[in-house]
């Protein structure tokens, strides 16, 4: 049984990292980052078979994760640093000139843990499918994981990729959708309704798992369930219910913190709600 208490500790520190990172340059995307902190912490500390101390672009015999919604880079950078890909103190350079921690993730600066640039939405699922195909050709039985925003599913390319995956029977991928129902201009229902997402993915030939993205036991259980669905000729997607801004009360239940940074006073309130568990950067 996984130590969910430890995961909670790490995720709380990750949330502190997120709000501090976006505060320092008054720039970045805290809402979705906070919402995905529990998932990414669990993925990197409990699920992935990976070697953070010896980053290898080709990831031979390692699981690979792609962040398609690159704007939630703060949570990914924090989780990568906290799991040993690069020094934690480097988080203090987020969005600075000459930093490896660009506003959106990139391979251009050689940051360990990142294998493709993302930011322009809708491309990550296709990229991940390519890597999944390469793994099959290489007889490498590890898995490819992705994360996508729900608003991102409005990009047509996602559905090109969804069709391709099932047609080509790519069954070594577990995609995850951050289903928080929010995007920059408002709720996804208001901006561009996603309709019945489960039915859409199923109609495209995917196996669908539904998951609460804020319950560590459930995250572990459901990802393991998704793993059990791999290798059966169909791609797998997890629809993960989350709350944008989770962990900071005033950022929850609204789309307003999608891409806004807290000021000094707001930062203090947020940090008050997030205990320093394993040490600030």
């Amino acid at each position: 049984m996984a130590n969910t208490e430890n995961l909670h500790k790490i995720a709380t520190q990750v949330r502190r990292d997120i709000v501090r990172m976006v505060h320092q340059n008054a720039s970045g995307h805290p809402g979705g980052s906070l919402g995905c902190a529990d998932f990414l912490t669990t993925l990197y500390f409990e699920i992935l078979n990976h070697d953070s101390s010896n980053f290898d672009m080709d990831a031979k015999n390692q699981d690979v994760f792609f962040l398609s919604n690159g704007h939630i880079s703060p949570v990914w950078y924090s989780v990568l640093a906290r799991s040993g890909y690069f020094p934690v103190k480097e988080l203090s350079t987020f969005r600075n000139l000459d930093s490896r921690l660009q506003g959106h993730p990139t391979t251009a600066e050689g940051l360990e843990g990142i294998r493709i640039a993302s930011g322009s939405l809708g491309q990550g699922l296709s990229v991940a499918l390519g890597t999944a195909l390469a793994k099959k050709l290489n007889n490498d039985h590890s898995l490819v994981y992705t994360l996508h925003g729900d608003g991102e599913l409005q990009e047509g390319q996602v559905w090109e990729a969804a069709m391709f995956a099932s047609a080509r029977k790519i069954d070594n991928i577990i995609a995850t959708v951050d289903f928080n129902g929010m995007q920059i201009d408002g709720t996804t229902d208001d901006v561009m309704s996603l309709g019945n997402l489960k039915a859409k993915w199923e109609a495209f030939g995917w196996l669908v798992v539904e998951m609460d993205g804020h319950n560590f036991d459930e995250i572990i259980k459901k990802i393991k369930l998704a793993q059990s669905y791999t290798g059966k000729g169909k791609p797998v997607v997890i629809l993960m219910k989350t709350e944008m801004g989770a962990g900071v009360d005033y950022m929850m239940g609204t789309h307003k913190w999608h891409g806004n940074a807290p000021n000094d006073e707001q930062l203090a309130i947020a940090l008050n709600q997030l205990e320093e568990t394993i040490g600030d950067y």
Binding site: M57, D58, A59, K60, V64, F66, T106, T107, A108, R115, I116, A117, S118, G119, S120, G122, Q123, G124, S126, V127, A128, L129, G130, T131, A132, L133, A134, K135, L137, N138, D140, G156, Q157, E160, A161, M163, F164, A167, R168
Partner: protein
Amino acid sequence: MKEYTYTETKDTRSGFGAGLHQLGKTNKNVVAMCADLIGSLKMDNFVKENPERFFQAGIAEANMTSVAAGLTIGGKIPFIGTFAAFATGRVYDQIRQSVAYSNKNVKICASHAGLTLGEDGATHQILEDIGLMKMLPNMVVINPCDYNQTKAATLEIADYVGPVYLRFGRPKVPNFTPENQEFKIGEAVMLNKGTDVSIFATGHLVWEAIKAGETLEAKGISAEIINIHTIKPLDKKAILDSVAKTGAVVTAEEHMLNGGLGDSIAQLLALNNPKPIEMIGVDDEFGESGHPEKLMIKYGLTANNIVAAAEKVISRK
């Protein structure tokens, strides 16, 4: 004037197909994708012999481009094929982020470039693709002139690590360069040494430049003719050395003047050695349906146009 002959005309896309076919036998990391145009791209033999290394993308070029970027993670060398219009403009953002900015080892193989696609008309006759691709950092842009050179370029880019845009076409054109030639990315090919004018041509216009050189010679004009098969990185030394000698320049390409080879050369010369220049290309307009040869005449992309440009630029010295 050095004499150039040929025994047959062949399409450059078939040179690509032959190169890819050979790579299927010699390089196990080469994989291929196509967006429902296997026959048009002449990829049939690769597909037949390497079904496990070929991925049909269907009519979904954006997905194909990004899947290719993902295939490089794990050491594959993807060659993706479709018409130039869809290989570039349609998927510019995918190329920009997933391929060029991420510096992935993807080979974008684009057929039916330019006016010589012919009867399908302007929707398919892209004349902006070189400009789109050369603006991207990390991207190599290659536009070979005939079947043999396209085959050689196809083989060579498999060994080069990094994003490449390989542009070729539909019509049969004289196959005059040597079989089994060595293709050097970024190294221009001297076709004829001359003293009065430098003609820099790329793609299908290289043969037109040779014909123009013969006409100019009959008129007593000595033309230096250089095949610029790689538009990026540009062979700056070859161009500057030639212009230092001749002092007058004609560029020729089956592409828009804005963003094309002529634009690159004009920039190079403006910064280093400004000299009179005349450009053969399409001047800020879309193409139209028609027979390829008639289109080239109507849009002024023939040997005769190169001759006239050479005479004009010499008069401007």
